[in-house]
């Protein structure tokens, strides 16, 4: 009986381990894209008014974190976080080397749907 309980406990532990492994794999879902233009300006915030403080170079792989209106938050290959414009994001390639497909958000997105 005691042995059975031990086996059950161990099974549970193994199952949890396997599950956590599966989850940790799916957690790495932030897309990576490659800069396909000479450079991309990185702003400190999601607007043109916020200063450009860094650039991502041609060929560099950047991680896309989140999005706000016309801007994407990215992490450069050296770990610097910044915001790039929709137009600049359109100048990147996905892992297969294809141009990324992005649709505008906000008012531009609404106009694109009905225009």
């Amino acid at each position: 009986m005691h042995l059975l309980l031990q086996f059950f406990k161990s099974s549970l532990l193994t199952a949890i381990c396997l599950l956590s492994m599966a989850f940790s794999v799916s957690a790495e879902s932030n897309p990576k894209v490659q800069v396909a233009t000479a450079f991309i300006n990185m702003h400190t915030g999601p607007s043109a008014e916020q200063p450009i403080f860094y650039v991502a170079e041609q060929g560099e792989w950047i991680t896309v974190e989140s999005r706000r209106t016309g801007y994407f938050k990215i992490i450069s290959s050296d770990g610097t976080a910044g915001w790039i414009s929709f137009a600049d994001m359109a100048n990147t390639l996905d892992v297969d080397g294809n141009k990324v497909v992005i649709t505008p958000a906000g008012l531009a997105g609404i106009l694109a749907k009905f225009g």
């Binding site: 193994t14 199952a15 400190t44 990324v100």
Partner: protein, 192 residues
């Protein structure tokens, strides 16, 4: 001894799980397994966090001259980085409560606020203008709303907000005279 037992059990459990995997692959022994070389392209077209929801509390100066505490909520959609449309509802804490319904269009001027030389946060000063409805003692008054405020982004999703607003309306019970209710409030908001 107990330790050894538990180790054996863990091994047995792992074996049980791994055997399941082996059995699954053995079934398709005759098939040629083609290795997947190309990595799956992950969609870059992320959801854009353009919606803002928030609560606020402050004070409103009624046209009768008395100041009252006011609490409320707001809901906004950011059309682009500069323009946003916002609906808000607030009411005073005295009875009968005066209720304010506002629909405004706002314009953001973005900047970075430096709290220290090495600590900064995204922020914006914004101006709003719109129309509203004020409910006093069962009757409603139309109003024109204008104001300005300051938004400080604590994180990419949470913000602190400070708003100043004026509600211009006809005097209660006297359509010939104009009155202005001034409102000041502070609140938090979440972008999603």
């Amino acid at each position: 001894m107990v330790n050894v037992k538990s180790k054996v059990c863990l091994l047995a459990a792992m074996l049980a799980f791994s055997q399941g995997g082996v059995a699954a692959t053995q079934g398709s022994e005759t098939d040629i397994i083609e290795p997947v070389i190309a990595r799956q392209a992950i969609d870059v077209d992320l959801h854009s966090a353009d919606w803002e929801i928030g609560v606020f509390a402050g004070a409103v100066n009624l046209d009768t001259g008395s100041s009252n505490a006011v609490t409320g909520g707001r809901f906004a959609y950011h059309l682009n980085e500069n323009f946003f449309a916002e609906l808000s509802y607030s009411e005073t804490n005295h009875t009968p409560a005066v209720k304010y319904f506002n629909g405004v269009l706002g314009y953001n001027v973005h900047q970075n606020t430096f709290i220290a030389s090495n600590l900064s946060a995204k922020s914006s000063i914004f101006f709003v203008a719109g129309i509203g409805d004020i409910e006093i003692e069962g009757s409603s008054l139309n109003s024109v709303v204008a104001g300005a405020g300051y938004r400080l982004m604590i994180t990419d999703s949470f913000s602190l907000r400070f708003d100043l607003r004026g509600h211009v309306h006809h005097e209660f019970g006297n359509d010939d005279e104009w009155a202005i209710d001034t409102e000041a409030n502070a609140g938090v908001a979440y972008f999603f």
